[in-house]
């Protein structure tokens, strides 16, 4: 079952419909409900390699539905510590639980000040309102 629309207020957002959950010097990244809903049920997630570097505003992976293949944009720069194997095996997890079980990667942040430039939930929702 696809999740109902929500945007948790403890997350930071990127206008390319990505979220980051800051946990000390690390961050967990994923795509928002809006992104998952726009794509429809995901059929493939092409993850980055553990140990590789993701760069803020650059693609770090791909998500694919029957409609389209889409780049996933990194909201922050850092080293990939872990890829969510559950999403690799069952990509629809992202549609079912985009902010929980459907996280994509965990990174070690290279520059924690980058977080300041991310959107809070209100700012992200005004991005959505203009879509």
């Amino acid at each position: 079952m696809a999740a109902v629309e929500s945007y948790p207020d403890d997350l930071r957002y990127h206008e390319a419909h990505d979220w980051a959950r800051i946990e000390g010097g690390e961050a967990v990244l994923g795509i928002t409900w809006f992104a998952a809903d726009s794509l429809g049920e995901l059929v493939h997630f092409e993850p980055p390699a553990a140990g590789s570097t993701v760069t803020k505003d650059e693609p770090y992976g791909e998500v694919e539905s029957v409609k389209a293949v889409s780049d996933v944009i990194a909201p922050l720069t850092g080293e990939v510590l872990e890829v969510n194997q559950k999403v690799v095996d069952a990509p629809e997890t992202v549609n079912e639980d985009p902010y929980g079980e459907g996280w994509l990667v965990r990174i070690r942040m290279a520059d924690a000040t980058e977080v300041d430039a991310l959107l809070d939930v209100a700012a992200y929702q005004s991005v959505l309102a203009s879509q």
């Binding site: 726009s38 429809g40 049920e41 059929v43 493939h44 539905s65 029957v66 409609k67 389209a68 889409s70 629809e92 879509q131």
Partner: protein
């Protein structure tokens, strides 16, 4: 209907394969020889004929109904094309025929090249590429050969593509060994010229542009774009996917483009979409002619037609012989039927699209509200927001009304996109029936969205599980996988 496997009964035969006496056993190594004969469907000839005849009635094509599949130009393909292509002189031609025995065929190819030069406003043509995508790759290879010849090959590594481009454009860039630079679309649906200016420099090899774009909009800044690219020493590639909008009205060569591919199967009535092979000739400016694929079809001083292999700078062959010959016959016939009135084809295509747009734009969102060219892109996001009906639901429901759905979810910059291309060959009655259906569907979404959600209701199959098909594709069907009748 039953599968051919379900019609099978052991021992039934549609034909008997003769086994002439004294035929030596073929020498097949033991490790390559199969141990058991394959299990194939066993049916008599009339069952076979009925099976495939019934299958053919499940088909939907431009011969059975309206097919407004955006960006595909599904125009009607006149029957006279098929008569001409089966003339013995064309149909029985052997690819290795001597030139003096194939003068008519070579002349047809040469004349087709001359017409395409006129239509594109360029100087030379190669008919070899088999489809638009191969035309793109060939064009980029010409651009690479040109810059290598000028010793700028190492310096110019980037090709610029707008975010509305067909997916084949970035794929061709990668295949040709170039790096991709993306440019944005502005609020009027044109290339964002400021974004462009910041991204074009001495490292840029080329622009790839579809004009009119996949939004069905003619780029209002094309002259400015031309100055930016040629000013930086880069070349311009025209994706001819939407050439049906501008034939005889404006020419890519006059807009400043240096290479163009033409989709004969879209613009010039070669049956496609399961109906036959494509054709993707390219036309180029003089500076690129030396690099065109060889052999070239030429007319010699004495008036005879020949294949010219003496092209030392050519990138080589991109296809067997001179290309898909039957496609050339059909496209040549189509263009000659219009003759100097070819622009009426494009004018009717643009008029039809604007008529349908004018009738539909109150019921569906129109992200870029301008006069369109030969196609336009609506958004079902208003139906999704207000009633929960998506572009997919609209498309599936349209099948119940007897129409092929438009292209959906493309271009990617429009959410819930419905891309509609009526073409020039439809009557006003057909266009009105389609508009009535689209308006009825918008009303159904408001009244009872379940009708859309569970569509189609009146087709041979109901809604297919596309997600399952993508995740678990069954590409081989046999007795073991046939469902029990």
């Amino acid at each position: 209907m039953k599968l051919i496997y379900e019609r099978s009964q052991a021992g039934r035969r549609a034909s008997v394969i003769p086994r002439p006496a004294g035929l030596p056993a073929p020498e097949i190594p033991d490790d390559l020889r199969r141990a058991e004969p394959p299990r194939l469907p066993e049916v008599p000839e009339f069952e076979l004929v009925r099976h495939f005849t019934e299958l053919s009635t499940r088909n939907f094509g431009v011969d059975t109904g309206f097919y407004p599949l955006g960006s595909c130009t599904m125009k009607y393909n006149p029957r006279i094309n098929e008569r001409l292509v089966t003339l013995p002189g064309f149909a029985h031609l052997h690819p290795h025929q001597e030139e003096d025995g194939a003068q008519g065929a070579l002349e047809l190819e040469w004349r087709l090249q001359e017409i395409l030069k006129e239509v594109t406003g360029l100087d030379a043509v190669s008919l070899q590429p088999a489809a638009g995508s191969q035309g793109e790759l060939t064009g980029l290879m010409l651009i690479r050969a040109y810059f290598a010849d000028r010793r700028e090959g190492e310096q110019r590594r980037k090709v610029v593509i707008p975010d509305t481009a067909h997916g084949t454009n970035p794929a061709s860039v990668t295949m040709a060994g170039y790096e991709l630079t993306d440019v944005k679309t502005d609020a009027r649906g044109n290339i964002d010229v400021d974004d462009l200016r910041a991204k074009v420099d001495e490292h840029t090899a080329a622009l790839m542009l579809t004009n009119p774009s996949t939004l069905g909009l003619f780029d209002e800044n094309i002259e400015e774009i031309e100055r930016i690219f040629h000013g930086a020493g880069a070349l311009m590639y025209y994706d001819g996917a939407n050439l049906n909008a501008v034939c005889g009205i404006s020419r890519p060569g006059d807009m400043g483009f240096d290479v163009v591919h033409i989709n004969l199967h879209k613009t010039f009535s070669q049956p496609h979409g399961g109906g036959g092979p494509g054709g993707g000739p390219i036309a180029v400016r003089k500076i690129l002619e030396p690099f065109l694929p060889a052999p070239a079809v030429v007319r010699k001083k004495d008036g005879a037609f020949a294949l010219d292999h003496d092209r030392p700078k050519s990138i080589g062959k991109v296809r067997g012989f001179t290309g898909p010959f039957g496609v050339f016959v059909r496209s040549y016939a189509y263009m000659r039927m219009y003759g100097p009135r070819l622009r009426e084809m494009s004018e009717a295509a643009v008029l039809n699209a604007n008529y349908v747009l004018a009738r539909l734009k109150g019921a569906y969102d129109l992200p870029f509200d301008r006069l369109c060219m030969h196609e336009f892109v609506l958004s079902a996001r208003n139906l999704k927001r207000d009633h929960g009906a998506t572009a997919t639901d609209v498309a599936k429901r349209l099948m119940d009304y007897g129409f092929h759905p438009p292209t959906i979810y493309f271009p990617l910059i429009v959410p819930e996109a419905l891309m509609i291309e009526p073409t020039e060959t439809e009557t006003k009655e057909t266009l009105d029936a389609f508009c009535d259906a689209m308006l009825a569907i918008a009303r159904e979404a408001a009244d009872d969205v379940e009708i859309l959600k569970s569509a189609p209701h009146h087709r041979p199959v109901r809604r297919l599980d596309e997600v399952r098909a993508a995740k678990n594709p069954v590409v081989k069907h046999a007795f073991e996988t046939a469902p029990v009748a």
